[in-house]
Symmetry: C2
Subunit: 217 residues, 2 copies
DNA sequence: CTTTTTTGTTGACAGTGTTAATTTAACAGT
DNA sequence: ACTGTTAAATTAACACTGTCAACAAAAAAG
């Protein structure tokens, strides 16, 4: 029994070793394109087919890498929040940290969102789903905190509100990272108005059901 | 001269033929993964290396396909706008059409944004860049129209404003298409508050420089 | 008609993901 | 210690892929 347990640990350690190698290849060899079983195995010092004992698929391996990336961006957000006290400040810090992290590490961001080999979310490993939920949870928690303290309006479900922030942040990073902002419009011009808009409109109680927008005059 | 022009047309026609074959493979064989030179060439009835006379790269071929996709989503937006008169109605119709198109054709949307083999935008074909600009231009033009008619505030550059809309719409579609909305939050819950927010806050003149958001109370 | 340029074909190379067969190593039971 | 059993790791092989070089066919230019 104890024996069995130990071999499980060893197994997990080996898996982690392979993941380390994969991460190293990913970071140093130029992103996702460089991550092949043969490449990773070579870096880990094992034969090219050995990783199949630890990952069913290439997608399985990539999912594990994705999970790491989500944990990383989660920690970036938490780090940026640490010095802030109010929910408003936390929310802004978190959002800016997300964008900064994504923009400054485009390879990781690409890994997280731009490789949907199989859209089959059911195949998403529990590991990845958990990491993703935890990352989004950072935002959701701050919004809950703000609503409970009365700093934010509660006319929106915290989950919906955090999804809205995520949508904005992801749209920003995604378009920037894939080089879509052209014609003299930079991401720096967009960050402020976007988050300002999201904060004021979503977290304030006014205008919560004005479906048609009146022209100003 | 006329002779020369005609052979150019023939060449362009062949190129279009190959693109048609590529599009067919893309649509019927399961998206981007199925588009290989060999596959496309087989569908076009030529040998597997012949497309190299018309496309320098696989990326070159994909760029041409991407251009078609952008033209398509542009026409979808214009179609949806046709019945609308006011700039406000046009803007809403355009935004919804963009989201609907993207969500209902995830393969095409993936093609447009999720395959940045080379982030080198300089290599983006003129064809693609033009198609992209035209698609975004639909939104920019409506905003200009709204600003000129006084329906929208002009405190934002129309280009920046349209980029903001694009950011929101793309964030929405991108997250939806890659299956990120989980835990009981659907895209339908997000569309209305997001666009309502963008419209009212960005296109109204109030709150244009309230950098810190006051707590409501 | 000859020469040159443009198209299309085939063969080849270096990779890839993945599976099957096979060897190596570590454990359990007697 | 010698089994038998099970897991781990390796190698060979298959069916692909993008890409290029060598070559044949055809068309255009002179």
């Amino acid at each position: 029994m104890a024996r069995k347990k130990q071999t499980d640990d060893q197994r997990a350690a080996r898996r982690e070793e392979i993941l380390d190698a994969a991460m190293h290849v990913f970071e140093t060899q130029g992103g996702i394109a460089a991550v092949s079983f043969r490449n990773v195995a070579a870096k880990a010092g094992i034969s090219y087919s050995a990783p199949y004992r630890y990952f069913t698929d290439k997608d399985d391996l990539l999912n594990a890498l994705r999970a790491r990336a989500f944990r990383w961006i989660e920690s970036e957000m938490k780090q940026a929040m640490k010095s802030k006290r109010s929910a408003t400040a936390k929310l802004e810090a978190l959002a800016r940290a997300y964008v900064t992290a994504g923009v400054s590490c485009p390879d990781r961001y690409e890994l997280m969102f731009f490789e949907l080999d199989n859209t089959d979310i059911a195949r998403n490993s529990l590991e990845l789903r958990a990491a993703k939920n935890d990352a989004l949870g950072v935002c959701t928690d701050v919004i809950i905190e703000g609503q409970e303290s009365g700093a934010f309006s509660d006319h929106l479900d915290p989950l919906v509100a955090s999804h809205l922030f995520w949508t904005g942040a992801h749209g920003l990073v995604s378009l920037e990272v894939s080089g879509q902002f052209v014609m003299g419009c930079t991401i720096d011009q967009l960050i402020a108005p976007l988050f300002q808009t999201l904060q004021s409109q979503i977290l304030n109680s006014e205008n919560q059901d004005s479906h048609t927008i009146a022209a100003n005059g």
